[in-house]
């Protein structure tokens, strides 16, 4: 699946997007965050406060317990500050 990062999550991870293949036990958004945070220093920094991180699956906001099965694109970002 494709993963995209925005704002300070993108800066901390050090890339805007990538393709990942999480292991079978990773079934929800919060499990994916926990797995990503172990993928290196930048990831650990980006996801150090997992409850602050917002997620979207295929362009729609989702909650941390949302299933990631079948997702084409998952995005992680801080709370939004537009408008």
């Amino acid at each position: 699946m494709k993963v995209k990062y925005f704002a300070w999550v993108r800066e901390r991870v050090g890339k805007a997007e990538e393709t990942i293949e999480p292991p079978a036990g990773v079934g929800t958004v919060d499990e994916l965050i926990a797995w990503l945070s172990k993928q290196g220093e930048g990831y650990a920094y980006a996801f150090e406060r997992p409850r602050v991180i917002r997620a979207a699956i295929d362009h729609a906001h989702v909650k941390p317990d949302a299933a990631i099965a079948g997702a084409k694109e998952i995005a992680f970002f801080p709370p939004m500050t537009g408008g």
């Binding site: 979207a56 729609a60 801080p78 939004m80 500050t81 537009g82 408008g83």
Partner: protein, 155 residues
């Protein structure tokens, strides 16, 4: 006849008067136009802002705004809605965002414009970074914006 819904995300500035005229030209059924313009402030918490850098999630930003415009159109009897949000570098005094709502009567237009702005602030995927003499920093989300959006979900 113009399209009822216009959503644009763009680097360029917009002309508020022209956007309003595009919604009302040739129509005699519209009795109320409300426009909200969000403008870049020159200081924040006492610190001078040199510029804002606005980032967005292409694709989702348009879709998310579209979902809220659809909801506004279903909640209030609106004739047309225009939402324009700028991205890229914006300097103090420049436009950031425009919401225009039109209706037969003012109440629907006022409420829908406020509803759309409250949701633009809290759920449209845009992020502001402030550039000042002390460096660049991401703008923190405000709890008051979440509270403003939440009041629309009361039954």
């Amino acid at each position: 006849m113009t399209n009822a819904v216009t959503i644009r995300i763009q680097k360029a500035d917009f002309d508020t008067a022209r956007e309003i005229a595009a919604l009302t030209a040739g129509r005699t059924d519209i009795g109320a136009v409300v426009s909200f313009s969000g403008i870049c402030r020159g200081d924040e918490g006492g610190e001078k802002i040199a510029a804002l850098a606005l980032e967005h999630y292409p694709g989702m930003a348009e879709e998310e705004i579209g979902r809220h415009v659809d909801e506004a159109m279903s909640r209030w009897p609106l004739s047309a809605v225009t939402v324009i949000h700028r991205v890229g570098t914006i300097t103090p005094g420049e436009n950031i965002v425009l919401v225009v709502t039109t209706s037969q009567h003012r109440q629907a237009a006022f409420q829908a414009a406020e509803f759309l702005m409250d949701y633009l602030k809290t759920s449209a995927p845009f992020w502001k970074k402030e550039e000042s003499a002390s460096g660049a920093s991401w703008v923190e989300a405000h709890a008051r914006d979440d509270a403003a959006a939440a009041r629309w979900t009361k039954s």
